[in-house]
Each structure stands twice: as C-alpha cells, then as structure tokens.
Subunit: 341 residues, 2 copies
C-alpha cells in the first residue's frame, strides 16, 4: 500500500521493478545523437505496411515483443497492459492490446501517456492488484502530422517553434519481483492552461505543467540534492528554457541535472527538427536508449522522469480554444546488483 506525501506525491511501499524494456525507432531517429542505441531500427517510415498508422502499430508490437523476450515472458503472464498513442481513439494501442490479450487500460495523456501508464501500473502492482504489467507508447511522424497539423506531403514550412514528432515506440515491463531499476515514487499531473493557441508551439503549452509537477515533487520530498537527473519528456528548446528559468526562479538549483528528451535525440542543427523532438515515442525511446543505461554507470542513482503532454485538439483549436498541458512524473532509482532498494 502506497503513501501519499505532502500535497500530491506518492511513495510506493513495494517499489516496482522495471524488469526489461525495448525501443524501436525510425531511421531519422537512429541518425541522431543516440545513433544505434535502439533495439530495433526501421528501414523506412512505412515499415513494410500499407499506411503509416499500420506502421505505428507494428512498431508497438515489435517494442512490446522485444521487451517481453528480454524478460522471457509471454503475453498471458502479463496481468495488465497500459498504453496510448497520438492517433485518434489511440487505435494503434488498441490493436496491440488485442494481439497481446492481457487486461487493458487505454490511456490518453498525449505525450505524457508513458508516465501516466507507469504511475497507474505501479499503483496497481504496489496495491496488490497484480504482479506484472507492460506499459507501451508510440508516435509516428507522418501519421501524427497529417492528423494534428498538415500531411507531410504538403511540404508546409514549419515554424522555428515547431517540434519534430518522433517515429518510435518504447515498451517497459514492470514487475513486483526484484531488479535493478525501480519506480519508487510518483506525482500525478494536473491540467494547466496558459492560453497558448499555436499548435506549432507545444513547448510553451506544456512548460507550466512541467514546472508545477517538478515543484510539487521537490517541495513534497526535499530530495533535490540526491537527484541525479530531472528529465522532461518533450518540451523542446523553447519549453525547456521556460521550465529551467521558472524552476530556478522558484529557488531550485537544477543546474547540471535537468535535461529534456526532446533535445537528446536529434542533432538539432543538421536534422532540421527546429525546437526538438516530441510525441509519445520521444520519452519512450530516449528513456530506454539513453537514461536507464546511463543510470547504471553509478552504484546508485535517482532520476525524476516527467512526461509532458500537450492536450492538443485540432478541432477545438480551430474553434478558438486553447491548448491545455499536463505533466506526470515518476521517480526511478537504480541499484547495482546486491545493493538493495
């Protein structure tokens, strides 16, 4: 049974192990800073399918199957599957859930869905409602752009504040059994709306929620000194700068600890991604390909992962409404074999 600390932070009584994970990424993603650190790299964005949407579902399927293979698990050994994506009706995830066959909770938190799923899965396992859960999210550049902005074939010029929706998927197997990486705490996010209406400036729409969630954690737990990393999902250059500045103004010395997954994936200058990467796939692949391995370089390390989501609806933006944002966080701790949790 978990404990609620302070305003809205959660500390798990029985921390949940991240038993295995897998990442699948597109060619453009594999040509970036993380090079070939992904478990599987697509030849091209269509991935042998008839549509980008089918290609997105196939990425999820690969990610979750690879993650299960690493943990020597079969679908029927999963008590829950939680996930989401950016397609309307999160249809890629629904098809994946059908193929896996485990009890399924479909989530929509835009690009915060990975961490939303990690929080709910950890609560389910810590609460005794099961032993093992998979969390998987994805995004696909071309499928997302044609649904949320313009079809990529139109060649519409992108503004400098725009981010590049990542083609990628990450799957994580959470388990009550022992491991090296653990989810030990969480902060569920609140929806915050700063009145942004520009669907090509998601960083500004999400930054305030990230500040709200990170501040809540730091004020509840007073553990900034022992945190090795604070990682936001996909604020990009603009959102990162707003978040960094506002946290500093609130008195949090985050220098040298704070990074954004959206800025860790591509070579910003050479790859024409403008403000950085974004999408449900962004934090999903960067966490698994970069940060979890990085955590293992120390005997014990602590990382606050903050999934950021712009709850953008093209329809209501056309109707003159604003884009609300949300940020969910989990605390991940790494302990070298034998050093305990």
């Amino acid at each position: 049974m978990g404990r609620c600390i302070g305003t809205r932070s959660i500390q798990f009584e029985h921390p949940v192990a991240i038993r295995s994970w897998a990442t699948v990424a597109g060619r453009k993603e594999a040509s970036g800073k993380l090079k070939r650190q992904f478990d599987f790299i697509l030849e091209d964005n269509i991935f042998g399918e008839k549509s980008w949407e089918r290609a997105e579902q196939k990425m999820q399927q690969y990610a979750i199957e690879l993650a299960m293979e690493k943990a020597s698990l079969y679908g029927h050994q999963l008590d829950y599957f939680l996930g989401g994506d950016l397609l309307n009706q999160i249809i890629a995830t629904s098809y994946t859930a059908r193929n896996i066959g485990a009890p399924y909770f479909g989530l929509y938190g835009a690009c915060s869905s990975l961490v939303e799923g990690m929080i709910l899965a950890s609560c389910l396992l810590d609460g005794g409602f099961g032993r093992r859960a998979a969390v998987c999210t994805s995004s696909h550049h071309d499928a997302a752009e044609r649904q949320l902005r313009y079809p990529t074939e139109m060649g519409v010029q992108r503004t400098l504040s725009a981010q590049w929706t990542v083609t990628g998927s990450g799957a994580y197997i959470l388990d009550q059994e022992a491991g090296n990486w653990y989810i030990t705490g969480a902060v569920p996010g609140r929806v915050i709306d700063r009145g942004i209406k520009n669907s090509s400036d998601m960083g500004s729409a999400m930054a305030a929620s990230a500040v709200d969630t990170i501040s809540a954690w730091l004020e509840d737990m007073h553990d900034l000194d022992t945190l090795d990393y604070i990682i936001t999902g996909d604020l990009g250059k603009i959102g990162y700068e707003i978040c960094r500045q506002q946290l500093t103004e609130r008195g949090f010395d985050i220098a040298g600890k704070y990074y954004d997954c959206g800025m860790q994936l591509y070579h910003a200058e050479d790859q024409d991604v403008h403000a950085g990467g974004s999408g449900c796939g962004c934090s999903a692949v960067v966490l698994g390909a970069k940060y979890l391995p990085l955590m293992a370089e120390k005997q014990h390390s602590r990382l606050l992962l903050v999934g950021t989501g712009a709850l953008l609806s093209p329809l209501t933006v056309q109707q003159g409404q604003t884009i609300p944002g949300i940020a969910h966080a989990v605390l991940i701790e790494y302990h070298q074999e034998g050093s305990g949790c």
Copy 2:
C-alpha cells in the same frame, strides 16, 4: 490492498463508496423511458454554446459540479479525477480536468471509459493512494456523429443496426468513507476482435467482449445466484441478443437479471433510435438515473456493471481494418443504512 481472484477478477479489501453522483441529459434522452429522472436536462443540444463540442464539455462541468455539490465537496478535496469522452484527444474531459484542478488521468476506452475509470479509481483508493476521486464521462450525439460517422445535417439514412449516441454526462464521486453504494469488485477487460468492419453495427463489435468479461466474473466468483442485476453499457438490441444467447449457451442462467443501458433509455419504436442508445454518456446517465436508485429498493442488492466499448477508428476502418471491442466490469453493492458492507 486488493485481492486477485481466479483468472482476472479483483475483490477490494476496503470497498470504495459511491458517495454521490449526478446526471445531465439532452431533451431527446429526457423524452424517453427515464423521463425527467436526470439531475439536469438541456434545453437543446447546443446548450447555449457555439459548438456541440463546447456543449459537451459544459455537460461534464455541470455533472461533476452537481455531484460535488451533493457531497458538499470542492475541487481541491478531490485526490484524483479520471475520465474520458468520445471526442478526439478526449478534449472535453481535458478541459473539465483543467477547470477542476485535481490530479488527472485521461482515459480512452470508448464507451467503456466510465467503468475503466471506476476500476482504476477504486484501485487507487483501495491501494491507499488517495481518499477521494471523481469519475466522469460524456458523449454528445451531434459531436460524435460528425466525428465518427456523418454530420447529422447531412441526413444520411441510418441502418437498423445503428445505435443513437446519447447526449449526456454522468459524474460519480468515489470515497473511502462510508456510504450506501460500494464498489466491491472488478474485472478489467481484454480487447476482443470478431472482425466486424461496419461502423453502424457497434453491438456486434462489442458483444464478444461483454461475454468474455461477464463469464470471467461469474467463473471466478460463482455468485450468479446472489446477483440482482447484470447491466451492459450500450450493446443495443443486436449486441444484447448476442450476449444473452452466448451467456446462456455457456450455462449461465441470466434470465430476469440481464439488461442493457442502451435499451433502457429511449422508447425504441417512437424515438427512431433503431438498435438503441450508445456512447460514453449512455451507461453514465442510466446507471445514475435508473439503476443506483433501483438498487435502494431492497435492503441489500448487487449489480454487475459492464461498460462496453467499441474501439472504432474511422481512419483504420477506411483502411480496411476491423473494430475491436472491450468490456470492463465493476461489482456495485447497496446496503441500507446500518446494514454494513
């Protein structure tokens, strides 16, 4: 801490009370079988707003505020808000979450979202992660039809297998404190796909999941004799008949106990709704306006509420793919004052 029973049923250690609820419905809905049993009835479907989507969000706002008023609660007293709707990016719910300000988990389970939210909220409260949560869902006929099928102004002739998306919203406040109605158990749903491709025959797409979930509960708990009601969300006439027949074939004697919310709302013959009501708002208003009050007519009664969802994506249906279904269930028990839970 909860207990897992049998294959995938959950029994809550500390059953969660349904402390209050409220229902908001359209005029057509209020002209049906339940007449004026709703807490608030719209004058018309536009509800004083500029668009149907804004009207849908306003319905949610009314539902949740009325439910909180009945429980003498304010937004800051909610530890969690869970919900969803049928609009792309569940945008109505995101705006409601923004206005309420509580930590928010956005869900997409199509018309099963109410029960998906009730399961997750019950796990959060039983697991000790909070004391109070609100669950709210909605659907709006005109907003849903123009997004998922045809704009209603087109006057496209509806097939006889089509259901009528309900204009309505229901909000439920779950609380660790004592009450009369309790959520005492649950079955999380699996995605099942019978190859249906007709977006005007949701009943057939969902029936198999309902059978799967109800059978799982009955096989795990062996409590059919003491169940007063088994209520599916929105299978409509066609799905109801498939579900009834398949449950009977599996040896479950559900005669006189099994009803579908989609068939309890409208006068099918006079109101031109063909196979019955559907949508996230269907079970949300029928549960609160009809079944929870009905449960109070006995000293102790037990109801299995089965939220059914057709995970329909117009895009992937156009791409030749099928419509998967899901069904989540909760067991609700009523105890007259003093008779205990």
